[in-house]
Symmetry: C2
Subunit: 192 residues, 2 copies
């Protein structure tokens, strides 16, 4: 069985993506990325001209990844309510990483909001994917567009807060308890 050859560019992006998530953007050097990707520092510059370039590429990579995931959810999960609950389920599934490193989407935005304000609007595109997806679900449940959007942002906000506190306290129990509370919030809202 032949494993599909990954392009060097793709290997670099995946290495950098993980390093940025674990150690932060500013704290990650080209040396580290090159080592993790098993290429020389010089070769790196053949694929990416500046450090910002790779950040853009990483955001694109994540957007592509999330888009694929949400498309799959839409196709395989039948009801809007179940899709909303699937979003909440991310907290439990990725709980260990969230405890250790926070939410990949949230921490990237928080960091860029300080060090690279020009790039932050671009990174916000990942939030938009979830926001639009959730808004769609609430709209399909009969809520007017504006209300649907507010509920979508509310859910994302709760999700982000849980990640921040769970990360700060390294508390997986808190995370699971709050995920349950979020599920209950959805149940209450849709019971009316």
């Amino acid at each position: 069985m032949v494993k599909k050859q990954q392009s060097v560019r793709s290997v670099i992006i995946k290495a950098a993506n993980e390093l940025f998530y674990h150690n932060g953007y500013e704290e990650t050097s080209f040396t580290q990325i090159a080592e993790k990707a098993n290429i020389s520092r010089g070769n790196f510059y053949h694929h990416f001209k500046t450090k910002e370039d790779i950040l853009y590429a990483i955001v694109d990579y994540r957007i592509e990844d999330v888009t694929k995931t949400l498309k799959e959810w839409t196709e395989t999960i039948k009801t809007p309510k179940a899709r909303i609950k699937r979003f909440i389920q991310i907290l439990r599934n990725d709980g260990d990483d969230a405890i250790e490193y926070g939410c990949p989407m949230g921490t990237l935005n928080t960091q860029l909001g300080k060090s690279h304000k020009d790039l932050q609007p671009y990174a916000r595109g990942i939030f938009d994917l979830f926001k639009n997806f959730l808004t769609d679900q609430f709209t399909q449940l009969g809520f007017p567009k504006k209300k649907a959007e507010q509920y979508a942002l509310h859910l994302i906000s709760r999700n982000q807060g849980i990640s921040v506190v769970a990360h700060t306290y390294h508390d997986i129990g808190f995370l699971k308890r709050e995920a349950d509370t979020l599920d209950e919030w959805v149940d209450q809202l849709l019971k009316k």
Copy 2:
């Protein structure tokens, strides 16, 4: 009227505190701090031996500041419920800064959680002040210790989520709407 002379150490801490909040820890250089504090780079090292030293000093400064604030709240605000609502009110009062830079407490922890894992537990001390304060209020309202602590963390979590999303979208309307929703949550909880 004579203005009280601030110590150089205090001036450095305040300058660094603002720079760390606005631009991030790793992104702030000694040159920037020295410029803002109007001292030479060399003088800086007379007061702080390493960059970590100043981070510890900043956390101490913030802890002192928050401790003073919470003491004042306890003395001037009569009911536990009103004190809890005062916590929520922070969102509205500091909304403009939150939109621009996020929550000072949350973003510091998020950043240290990546770049300086050893320092993060120290910075968590600021969270603990609010956590203990809110736990006290819920306890005084008759909730058992464990439940009181869970509600305290729930409130902090909601507060953090609101800051992250409001910062990401630079949306003050969202922040105010969600602060109102949090107030309602408290009303509902205490109505029972």
